[in-house]
Amino acid sequence: MQPTKTVKAGVLALVLTLLFIAAWELFWRSKGFLPTYNDDRALWAAERKEALQPARDATVFIGSSRIKFDLDIPEWERKTGEDAVQLSLVGTSPLLLLQDLGNDTAFRGKLVVDVTEVLFYGQNPAFHLSANEAVSYYQKQTPSEKLSDQLGFALEANLAFLEERRFSLNTLLESLALPNRPGVMALPVFPKGFEWTTGDRQTYMADMFLQSKEDIAFQTNVWKMLLMGDPTPPVEGEVLAKIFQEIKTATDKIKARGGRVIFVRTPSSGPLYEFEAAKYPREKYWDGMLRSTQNEGIHFADNQTTGGMICPEWSHLSRTDATIYTRELIAELRKKDWFSSSITIP
């Protein structure tokens, strides 16, 4: 290799790469995209630490995606003066997360468990994958990974294109939506405005999603396929009793250490709610679970305000409604002496 040749090539490569990055970032920003965080195991592990050492009094939330959309963390923190530690995982049953906290003797705090029946009682191993991966990553995280994650968060906070589920090479290729052979199960790529995640793991739907009828229709079709299309019957008998027992064992452990646990059922609406109510009747799967595990619960349908809430794509609240839901949830929790301070902040 001639000496100057590689140097010239290197300079050209650097310039072209930087130009591409700048153009790519500006392109997506011009389309309305802002920097958000990858809602991955790294962000989860960073938040998991907060469950043990919050800066102040805190409530930990576990569940699937609904509580991530429906709990407005700034509103929660403003109204309660306490932290909200969001450990829910999208598309995932929180049972493993509940067991993880139950087995962690250092956890003695307050825990809210959100129930989305299709995932909570679902027997598909895929519903536990993300939880397994996240807990394992947290437990085995190396110092190098911790440093990399912190550097990654700093970059993600400033660069919009660093959102893997929207702009990575694989997502862009999968967006081509080529037809598959019969029987091949491939997860659809969600609309780019659907899931935006903040540094404290709150998720929300961007205006570009809420304003797009096509995107909303696409997303409801996704729920029809993923949530309503599951042909397996709901769990019953011994399997259900075993799940109840696992819940009770984990929650008893937390309560025995001085912690508190409460279950919530966040809103869903339209055909999806009708499907859920029919497949998982409330008396058996909500009231029955609370009775059997001796836990308290807050069901959205029992509150006049939240009972009538409409989810734009049947499953999650818009950010505006999330603020209202959060206020109502706080009010319900206050009735149960959830907060150390009884002062109500307007």
């Binding site: 490569a13 591409f20 190396t142 190098s144 990974e145 080529l178 029987g183």
Partner: protein, 494 residues
């Protein structure tokens, strides 16, 4: 620490910054040594103790081995070094495997023995640095080179971070002399190092992880038989993934070392263009195969004894080579297959050296005899090369099934799917994954074919600088676009 991580970018920037400051060479070596320990410790700090133990053991035993004249004493020292080095490897890497096999054996004999499952963590890269230090001890025993007098240089030889956890496995004579004089890369060497680092990351992040690993995982993790096309694409995906993953690491290691002014040996030379298994092992994981040849195969007698003994030596070498990769019988079978193909190739070559067709006939008769069997082009040199390359690639892919499958049931299911023995195999690969695997595999094989007698340096030297710059930029852009889809290197577990 992974090359494909943000922490490595910060780490290497600091290390290079310190390396190019106006400091005494000894201080720079201390900087490199501390950086190497840090590089290893940020994965699991306590395991640095193993590195220290290995370093101290081989430094002192090696020197003693060289100076001691008494044969018996030398054998005791060698046995001590081998027992401790291989003992550590056996405990950490093969402890679970040995226990499982012991339990199976006693249960077969009718005893009910259920020990508690041991929770042994495998120290990353232990197979690599154990072999590296062993080569020093064995060289001292054979008095092939003089013992190292500087503990600092020897520690750096054992721990040099670019190649510490996944090779290339470096011989003492290759690396130790490089620590004797101050080393810095000039601008051209430095940028060449960066180019190799970029190429290695491109192979790992884009090709292995983003484009191929998904298809390989989907097929090999399927709980039932898959369709024939899926099985083949899954194996081809793994074939590409393992090459890009491992060769990517080696390329990064060579590039990082070059940025610091050091030279590391080549570890891959376009192996999928190999025209036979002996050629394959001259191109795949070259530093391991040459280690096995020098310290095991030749020590066993190599090909210096009878033909039968040569075959046995080949088989022993490849079986142990298989076991080096992982504590599982599937790796042993992988090694056995490679050993068998090497033996078979040797037999065929031997037969070809005494061809009946030319022995008994004159040239004209031979041509007529051949033509009556096969068209003339079949005997062409190029045709034979292409045929043997494709046959080797095909057989290597068969062996990868055992390398990748978690157990024999999976391997059996995969082979049955690949050869159409199973009916009703399910389709599992999305169309986009099939396209990704097909495109990358064709490009991979074509590139290996085109480059089989060349190197990256030669290609870059012939190309116009702006073409190199554009190609380099494309690799960097694709790395950036691949984002976090990358994971740790497969060979770390070995």
């Amino acid at each position: 620490m992974l090359f494909n991580s943000y922490s490595f970018v910060l780490f290497i920037a600091i290390v290079v910054g310190l390396h190019y400051m106006q400091l005494p060479w000894k201080l720079k070596k201390i900087n490199l040594l501390l950086a190497s320990y840090l590089f290893y410790a940020v994965w699991n700090p306590p395991f640095v103790l193993l590195l220290w133990a290995s370093t101290a053991l081989d430094f002192f035993v090696g020197r003693k081995l060289y100076v001691t004249r008494k044969r018996h004493q030398r054998k005791v020292l060698l046995a001590l070094s081998l027992a401790l080095n291989l003992g550590m490897l056996a405990f950490f890497k093969y402890g679970n495997f040995l226990l499982q096999n012991f339990v199976t054996l006693v249960s077969w004999l009718g005893f009910d023995y259920q020990p508690a499952a041991p929770d042994i963590i495998l120290p990353v890269g232990i197979s690599f640095y154990t072999f590296q230090t062993l080569s020093y001890t064995l060289d001292m025993y054979r008095r092939r080179s003089r013992p190292e007098t500087s503990l600092l240089d020897f520690s750096l030889f054992v721990t040099f971070f670019p190649q510490l956890v996944a090779g290339p496995i470096v011989r003492p004579t290759e690396l130790l002399p490089q620590f004797k004089t101050p080393r810095q890369a000039n601008a051209a060497q430095f940028t060449k190092g960066l180019l190799l680092l970029s190429l290695g990351l491109f192979m790992k992040v884009v090709l292995a992880d983003a484009l191929l690993s998904g298809a390989a995982d989907t097929v090999f993790n399927a709980q039932q038989s898959v369709a024939m096309i899926d099985a083949w694409l899954g194996v081809l995906a793994f074939s590409g993934q393992i090459f890009f993953d491992f060769a990517g690491y080696s390329t990064c290691a060579i590039g990082v070392a070059a940025c610091l002014g050091f030279h590391l040996p080549e570890n891959f030379r376009y192996p999928y263009a190999a025209s036979g298994f002996s050629d394959f092992w001259r191109r795949w994981h070259i530093t391991l195969s040459s280690w096995l040849k020098d310290y095991l195969y030749i020590a066993l007698g190599g090909n210096r004894k009878t033909e039968g003994r040569t075959y046995i030596n080949l088989m022993i070498t490849m079986l142990l080579g298989g076991l080096w990769h992982g504590a599982s019988w599937t790796f042993v079978v992988w090694g056995a297959l490679h050993g068998s193909f090497l033996v078979l190739e040797r037999i065929i070559r031997k037969m070809q050296r005494q061809p009946a067709i030319t022995k008994e006939m004159n040239a004209g008769e031979a041509v007529v005899a051949r033509a009556s069997l096969l068209p003339a082009f079949v005997y062409g040199k190029r045709f034979r090369l292409v045929f043997s390359m494709l046959l080797t690639f095909f057989l290597v892919n068969i062996t990868w099934v055992f390398f990748r499958a978690a157990d024999f049931a999976t391997a059996g299911r995969m082979l049955a799917s690949m050869f159409g023995i199973t009916e009703n195999g399910i389709a599992v690969l999305p169309t986009i994954d099939m396209i990704k695997v097909a495109v990358v595999t064709v490009l991979l094989v074509a590139t290996h074919w085109a480059m089989r007698n060349s190197s990256v340096s030669e290609v870059v030297a012939k190309a116009r600088w702006w073409k190199v710059g554009i190609g380099w930029a494309l690799m960097l852009i694709l790395i950036v676009l691949s984002q976090k889809s990358s994971d740790s290197f497969i060979y770390f577990q070995f």
